[in-house]
């Protein structure tokens, strides 16, 4: 997609598709698959809902590939850890798709402790004419069977079924915060606060610990791992971010245990902005490689940073997401919002980055034109098929008509999870228990 048309679209022309209200539960993760045909959401209740894009139809060109529910299944159930007398939440923390290799779709979904591989397949035929049982499934009396027949496949209504093909469990003492599929399509990593484990997709009773930052004495613990991701092309490289604002790039070829990093990315702290909250707001909540594999993007509480993999001492770009919150850190600390973990995402061409904020706002930054826009995901403020209006937060002084003042922001409405279609300008944004899908307008 051309950069020029990208920037034009960002500015003012996002068409709002109808929104899907997922009823009971708060959406905890959203992810497009590698072709963009499917969109998966996970929620706090352990369910996964998969949407599929409609085939574009010539008769209704304005309904350009809308997303409809394709499959819904219960991925994880709440569990009880008897040893610690603690509940294990069924909330889906992350979903990652595997690239499609046959007619079925595969995805990995994880809660705090267990990763599962799900196969989603279609069934549109069923066998009829069994010998030993009749059509209702009742066993036939063998003495009544006088001849044999070959069962025949008959068409039936399309059924989409999800089956758990692998369950990768008992490898994490702490809470899993991320999973990442390797470009070799044979392995994946699961990451908790202190460890990164490498799995083979075929083997569930063994995993290989490749990063372990647990100190011998837990009292010395000052830093945890917040996210990890494989490099999109180099199957031996992965990166993990920390609660202290640093990113480590590791090469699995160097050693079995990747405690020594290859590269260490950290920006020195600006002493002028130091406060009691400096460390908390420097904690990285998400790390994403660019599609071309040359850059890393990190999200901390107030900014999004783009790092060139060749330069470790500072990011090449820093974008302020909601700097007006800097003066409110104390209140945000008190109401715990300062611990919110926002995700960030690249568009298909790596020219635009997007991340969420409060008040159901989300922000997009064009890396080339340096222009940015704030948009809102809410039913009240936009009608279906209307173009989203850019929003603005007033930071002091006179508030203009359409602006919203910092004190009026609703901090309970946070957009933590967003995803971008791999090729097109289609984004999915989770606002608490609502899913919004936006597309660029049809020209």
């Amino acid at each position: 997609m051309e950069e020029e048309s990208d920037s034009r679209k960002i500015n003012n022309s996002f068409l709002r598709d109808h929104n899907y209200a997922t009823e009971a539960d708060i959406i905890s993760t959203v992810e497009f698959n590698s072709t963009g045909e499917l969109l998966a959401t996970g929620d706090k209740g352990g369910r996964v809902v998969v949407f599929q894009r409609e085939q574009e139809s010539k008769t209704q060109p304005h309904r350009r590939g809308e997303y409809n529910v394709y499959s819904t299944f219960q991925s994880h159930e709440p569990e009880f850890d008897y040893l610690k007398s603690l509940e294990i939440e069924e909330k889906i923390n992350k979903i990652k798709w595997l690239p499609q290799q046959n007619a079925a779709y595969f995805l990995l979904s994880t809660n705090d402790k267990t990763v599962k591989l799900w196969k989603i397949s279609e069934r549109d035929k069923r066998p009829e004419g069994y010998n030993l049982k009749d059509e209702d499934g009742r066993i036939r009396d063998p003495s009544t069977i006088t001849s044999l027949r070959v069962p025949v496949l008959q068409p039936m209504d399309l059924m989409v079924e999800a089956t758990a093909r692998r369950i990768f469990s008992n490898a994490h003492t702490y809470h899993i915060n991320s999973i990442s599929v390797n470009s070799d399509l044979q392995t994946f990593i699961s990451t908790d606060d202190l460890r990164v484990n490498l799995w083979n997709l075929e083997i569930t009773d063994r995993s290989f610990n490749i990063v372990d930052i647990k100190p011998a004495n837990m009292e010395e613990l000052t830093e945890v791992i917040t996210s990890a991701e494989f490099h999109p092309q180099q199957c031996h490289t992965f990166a993990y971010s920390s609660s202290k604002g640093s990113i480590r790039l590791c090469d699995m070829r160097l050693a079995a245990l990747c405690d020594k990093h290859c590269k260490y990315f950290e920006e020195p702290e600006d002493p002028a902005t130091r406060s009691f909250f400096s460390e908390i707001i420097s904690s990285i909540s998400d790390v994403k490689f660019s599609h071309n594999g040359r850059y890393l993007m990190t999200r901390d509480y107030l900014t999004v940073k783009v790092w060139d993999l060749q330069m470790e001492n500072k990011p090449v770009e820093t974008y302020q997401v909601h700097d007006y919150l800097r003066g409110k850190l104390c209140s945000l600390y008190e109401n715990d919002c300062i611990f919110d973990k926002f995700e960030c995402v690249w568009n298909g061409s790596d020219s635009v980055i997007m991340t969420g904020s409060y008040n159901n706002f989300f922000r997009m930054f064009d890396r080339n034109t340096k222009r940015d826009v704030t948009l809102e995901a809410s039913r009240e403020n936009s009608k279906p098929r209307a173009i989203l209006k850019p929003r603005k937060v007033c930071v002091g002084g006179k508030r203009r008509k359409d602006e919203i003042s910092v004190d009026s922001l609703d901090f309970s409405k946070k957009i933590l999870h967003t995803t971008w279609h791999p090729y097109e300008n289609i984004i999915a944004v989770a606002a608490t228990n609502n899913l919004y899908i936006f597309q660029d307008k049809v020209n």
């Binding site: 007398s85 509940e87 490898a171 995993s207 837990m218 009691f276 909250f277």
Partner: protein, 246 residues
């Protein structure tokens, strides 16, 4: 076994009232909080005090049966450490033992810790091994399943953590604190005397699960040296209030 509350001396109370910001009342706290980081009306000292009390409150508050987020706990503790460092370099604060232990009910710690950390109700025979035994770990499948570790009680977990917490909060003048206190009741139990000798702040005990905590030597590495307490009197009082939920 309930702790016998130690009565605060009147002079101590007077001191508290004289100190600015003593037992920060709710509305004042809200004003401070609303002021945010750059509010000129809130001095750095006031903000520090507020953040400190919030820190402790957050560390102590948890839902029973729900595991704490390690990331959040680590960030809170690091903030607490940072404030303590600053206070130490400022040279502020002395505490009196009476204030520190006002209304302290050791059982309240143990009970609340119990909820979030270990399986409840496990009993052990040997008292000494109790204080030393590590929690049985939820070992990953790859580890040796035959390695049996005795199940701890909540108390022992608190202790072993408290003992090691002593290393973490070693600057608290623990000997100093306990000088004036009549611990005859505590001494009747090995457990509680060990607890009393350890850190007063079982802050880390409930915060994270140490799956392979090793046996610790009986002599806890708690602070032996006399150093001045880090907390201001008024902060301590507030903290005590929070902890005891009086």
């Amino acid at each position: 076994m309930l702790g016998r509350g130690v009565k605060r001396k009147w002079s101590c109370l007077e001191e508290l009232e004289l100190l600015p910001g003593a037992a920060v009342p709710e509305e004042k706290r809200q004003n401070l909080a609303a002021g945010g980081g750059h509010d000129p009306s809130m001095s750095r000292l006031q903000q520090r005090q507020l953040v400190l009390s919030l820190c402790v409150e957050k560390l102590q508050h948890y839902q029973a049966g729900v595991e704490l987020s390690l990331r959040r706990s680590v960030l809170l503790i690091n903030t607490l450490r940072q404030i303590q460092e600053e206070m130490r370099s400022d040279g502020t604060g002395t505490c009196t033992p009476e204030v520190l232990l006002h209304g302290v009910d050791p059982d309240s710690y143990l009970l609340t810790d119990d909820m979030s950390v270990t399986c409840s109700g496990c009993a052990e025979g040997d008292m000494e091994s109790l204080s030393l035994s590590p929690p049985a770990s939820p070992e990953p499948a790859s580890q040796d399943a035959e390695q049996q570790k005795p199940l701890p009680t909540a108390v022992s977990n608190t202790l072993s953590d408290a003992g090691s917490a002593g290393g973490y909060l070693s600057d608290l003048a623990l000997d100093d604190i306990f000088e004036d206190i009549d611990t005859s009741m505590y001494e009747s139990s090995d457990l509680l005397s060990a607890w009393a000798a350890g850190s007063l702040w079982p802050v880390t005990s409930s915060l994270w699960w140490d799956e392979d905590m090793k046996l610790r030597p009986a002599g806890h590495s708690s602070a032996g040296s006399l150093q001045s307490c880090l907390m201001d009197l008024n902060e301590l009082d507030h903290i005590m209030e929070v902890l005891v939920k009086s």
